[in-house]
């Protein structure tokens, strides 16, 4: 080559841009939407956002730990209408008022008579009756860089609005999502708005069959002093890709408690963005992840303390078997003015197998100087001594392991106030242990 520098020719091959598939889907969806859900500005903005972001890859720091390669080959279709949820699954849901969504569309609203000031509406109905509340869609902070949240906004065809007026209270409501699979993409959407001093206790239950992608997106807005307790059971099918998100905004003295039971999906990733915007707001997040086989279950969380005197507690637990992978990536951000912040973050993992992988990234970004922030991460196996103790008393290895895992998960389960639900989840835990161990 002598002193001549050469330039390596770069092969340029025509690769179909995966964005094209989704943009075409958005155009198809838009054509079939009722006028009240056309929301042209929201859709256009979401489309632009998705075009800019594209599908995430592992070269992005936020997606470094989530390999969605199995999803890339799949070009999920739009789900057909008129499908019904599995009858057995429906029968297993907790009793009481409920809304059933199938493939992201409202299937049945069975709430009976609701307390005064409480509205539970499909989006089309909400657009007519509570347009000013529905206008909150896509206005809450967070998840701006989340491609699947952008996709949801571009593609959702329906959704449920739960609105609790000032001072009103909704004690129990189940929001059940069923995905009928068959290589489809579903985009369920929930908007939960609690006005000043309102209260609500909600249960979200996600299930399905076969292969599908869900971009389920939940938005939560809490007024001053409002209190929301939301429990989620993620029990998607074993072939599902659940890549949903949740964003929440809390006004002064509002309280948000989120409990997540996560056990389903081939890849299950949840991106949470919480903003504590009023003084005295409090967030409490608990998660229990049970992962086996080759499951990849992720939690990515950004919790922003924007003002002074807010508190937050996060406790995420993972029990891992087989070749499963559990990622907890949590960021606590404390803004310059958020003095006297009290934030705690814990991630605890139990490894039942040598091939399982746990990744904990508990991050702190602190810009105020009078704060109390703590984070911790622990990883370990079942305690040998405890196992020995139990076995010395004639308890078999499998049963002893189950007992110890139950104890590990116990703090999560004990905090559930609903007896029936706790019993249901305990049964599930035991069943999971039988398969996993």
């Amino acid at each position: 080559m002598g002193g001549v520098s050469t330039v390596n020719p770069v092969a340029v091959t025509a690769v179909t841009d995966p964005r094209a598939h989704w943009l075409a889907a958005a155009t198809e969806t838009a054509a079939g939407l009722p006028p009240e859900l056309a929301l042209p500005e929201l859709r256009a903005a979401a489309r632009t956002r998705f075009e800019r972001l594209g599908l995430p890859s592992r070269t992005l720091e936020a997606w470094r730990t989530t390999d969605i390669a199995p999803l890339r080959g799949l070009e999920p279709r739009r789900a057909g209408t008129g499908r019904a949820p599995d009858a057995g699954w429906l029968a297993g849901l907790p009793a009481g008022p409920r809304v059933v969504l199938v493939d992201g569309r409202v299937h049945a609203i069975e709430t009976g008579e609701l307390p005064a000031g409480v509205s539970v509406l499909g989006f089309a109905e909400a657009a007519r009756r509570l347009p000013q509340v529905l206008a909150a869609l896509d206005t809450l902070p967070g998840l701006d860089a989340h491609a699947f949240a952008a996709l949801n906004s571009a593609l959702f065809e329906d959704g449920v609005l739960v609105h609790v007026a000032a001072g009103a209270r909704l004690d129990a409501l189940t929001l059940a999502h069923w995905s009928s699979g068959d290589g489809t993409a579903v985009h369920p959407r929930l908007l939960l708005v609690l006005e000043d001093g309102a209260g609500a206790g909600l249960l979200e239950w996600q299930g399905g069959q076969g292969t599908y992608l869900s971009t389920a997106l939940t938005e939560v807005r809490l007024g001053r002093g409002a209190q929301l307790a939301l429990s989620t059971v993620q029990d998607e099918s074993a072939e599902a890709f659940q890549l949903g998100g949740l964003r929440a905004q809390l006004a002064a003295d509002a309280k948000f408690s989120l409990r997540r039971w996560v056990g389903g999906g081939r890849i299950g990733r949840m991106d949470l963005a919480l903003t504590l915007e009023g003084e005295g707001a409090a967030a409490e997040l608990d998660g229990l992840v049970l992962a086996g086989g080759t499951q990849l279950l992720d939690h990515h969380l950004e919790l922003r303390h924007a003002v002074a005197r807010c508190t937050s507690r996060q406790t995420f637990r993972g029990v891992l078997a087989g070749k499963a992978k559990h990622v907890f990536d949590g960021l606590i951000r404390v803004d310059p003015d958020a003095q006297q912040t009290d934030a705690q973050q814990q991630c605890r993992n139990l490894l039942l197998s040598k091939q399982a992988l746990t990744v904990a990234i508990p991050r702190l970004e602190i810009l105020a100087d009078d704060v109390k922030c703590a984070h911790g991460a622990t990883v370990g196996a079942l305690d040998e001594d405890a196992l020995f103790y139990l076995r010395a008393r004639g308890i078999g290895l499998a049963e002893a392991s189950t007992l110890l895992v139950r104890a590990f998960a116990g703090e999560f389960l004990d905090a559930l106030t609903d007896e029936a639900m706790r019993a249901a989840l305990e049964t599930r835990l035991d069943a999971w242990m039988e398969v996993a161990a």
């Binding site: 002193g3 520098s5 050469t6 390596n8 070269t59 720091e61 310059p336 003095q339 993992n349 490894l351 039942l352 197998s353 040598k354 091939q355 399982a356 992988l357 746990t358 990744v359 904990a360 990234i361 508990p362 991050r363 702190l364 970004e365 602190i366 810009l367 105020a368 100087d369 009078d370 704060v371 922030c373 703590a374 984070h375 911790g376 991460a377 622990t378 990883v379 370990g380 196996a381 079942l382």
Partner: protein
């Protein structure tokens, strides 16, 4: 704040001066021709040139890393000159200390490097790196008696090519990351250390880095190999002259420890951090990594980072040998507009491997200080243990302290613990000390030194004293 304090706060960078020495500098720009030129000037063998070119071609295809918590304008790599050497040392190296350019000698005297008589008393062998070419190496004879090789990198390439070739790039491959690839392509010089089997190096080895020529990137390459049962303690310290333009420093340090060997690597970094508004200052993008290749080997990193506009540095340990040990002790101080994203990686591969991480971050003014560390336990690392402790101290309400620990565990028998705290120098603590007749400035210094004690005690004696002084000097004027 007292008048005295304000005066101290405005005090410029004490080591900001430049030496007027004739430099042989390659015009700015980077291409394969420039790399060939560097290689030719250094009379390198063909394989090393090929290695550099491979690195350069990889570098061209790599994206600039953007994940770090630092912000700076894009760097124009074509505006940097990639080679600069004091003229007199080109060709044959200096025969003795008398042959060194008197100007350079004066620079070192002002920096307080004991290059002449004092070094004998101090027992320090110095491989001084002035810009890119090593100009002086002392104590070679005494070390050679025990078979220890301590010389400049170029010299090692000429005299011990088999050793260099055997180990170069085995810890930090050319494609490791953007800045390591750049370094591999254009590295100018550095230090090479080889400690033979069973030898305990009788003195602390040390280099003193200086960045001098304007617009000259500094691309050092250090390779330290400790053979079975060997021990070495290596010190690295740096100051740089005051400059208005940002200067890039992308060094690579590779350590290899065989069975039962121990390498202790200590750094005190005090490069020019830029002025109060964040203008100028050094960009310090360094890749440092140690490989515990043998059983029961140990690598210990200690760093006191008090300078540079931007620090991007993660001294790491790959614990491959069974029962090997990795340690990381760090104090990172940022003030004014400084930004630091620093930490470590501990990769546990061998059985019963252990690692300890102690990181102390101090932020003052408008500075941003981030700890970023990875602890990875692979399935083979039965009984591995790690303990990480990351403490941040905030001084003032305009600065930031960030903690980004990454914990990846793939073995249920591993024990991994991570602890982090963020605090400030509290009024109560100051009041308590004031009450006992200690002035506010001294009180803060006392509290900060207490905060950093665990790290300072890991430094060799003379370095510990220097580090403590440096911290005091740096903090003066930042409290009020």
């Amino acid at each position: 704040m007292s008048a005295n304090l304000e005066e101290l706060a405005d005090r410029g960078y004490a080591y900001g001066f430049t030496t007027d020495v004739e430099q042989e500098t390659v015009p700015p720009g980077l291409s394969e021709d420039v790399i060939r030129l560097i290689s030719a000037k250094k009379q390198e063998p063909e394989w090393l040139l090929e290695w550099r070119l491979e690195a350069y071609r990889s570098w061209l295809k790599m994206p600039v890393p953007e994940w770090a918590h630092v912000h700076y304008p894009p760097i124009d790599y074509q505006a940097i000159s990639y080679y600069s050497a004091p003229k007199k040392s080109i060709g044959d190296g200096p025969a003795s200390l008398d042959d060194i350019d008197p100007e350079i000698k004066k620079t070192y005297d002002r920096l307080g490097i004991p290059l002449v008589e004092q070094e004998f008393l101090a027992g320090v062998a110095v491989d001084a790196v002035f810009d890119s070419v090593s100009v002086a190496t002392s104590y070679r004879g005494k070390l050679a008696e025990q078979g220890i090789i301590f010389c400049s990198f170029s010299e090692a390439v000429r005299e011990h090519p088999e050793l260099v070739r055997q180990y170069l790039g085995t810890v930090v491959p050319v494609r490791d990351n953007y800045y390591a690839a750049l370094n591999s392509a254009v590295f100018s010089d550095g230090s090479f250390v080889y400690i033979p089997k069973g030898v305990r190096c009788p003195m602390e080895l040390s280099t003193y880095f200086r960045i001098n020529a304007k617009n000259t990137g500094q691309f050092e390459r250090t390779l330290i190999v400790a053979d079975a049962g060997a021990y070495v303690s290596y010190l690295e310290g740096c100051t740089a002259p005051m400059r208005d333009e940002n200067q890039l420093h992308a060094a690579v340090v590779e350590l290899v420890a065989m069975d039962d060997a121990t390498i202790k690597y200590s750094t005190v970094q005090n490069w020019y951090p830029g002025d109060k508004e964040g203008r100028g200052g050094i960009y310090n993008f360094v890749t440092k990594r140690g490989l515990c290749r043998g059983a029961r080997s140990k690598i210990s990193w200690t760093q006191v980072e008090t300078g540079s506009a931007i620090t991007w540095k993660y001294p790491s340990c790959i614990l491959r040998g069974d029962d090997s040990v990795g340690e990381f002790y760090s104090v990172a101080l940022t003030r004014d507009r400084m930004q630091a994203d620093t930490g470590t990686k501990m990769i546990h591969m061998g059985k019963r491997t252990r690692s300890t991480i102690v990181s102390k971050g101090i932020s003052a003014g408008h500075a941003q200080n981030a700890y970023r560390g990875l602890v990875k336990i692979l399935p083979t690392a039965d009984g591995a243990r790690n303990h990480s402790q990351c403490d941040s101290l905030l001084m003032g309400d305009q600065c930031g302290a960030h903690t980004f620990p990454y914990v990846e565990v793939q073995n249920p028998t591993a024990q991994v613990e991570h602890e982090a705290t963020t605090s400030r120098v509290s009024d109560d603590q100051i009041f308590y000390l004031n009450q006992r007749g200690i002035g506010t400035e001294d009180a803060v210094s006392l509290i900060v030194n207490g905060f950093c004690k665990e790290v300072f005690k890991e430094l060799p004696m003379e370095f510990a004293v220097e580090a403590q002084k440096l911290l005091e000097l740096k903090l003066e004027g930042s409290v009020g």
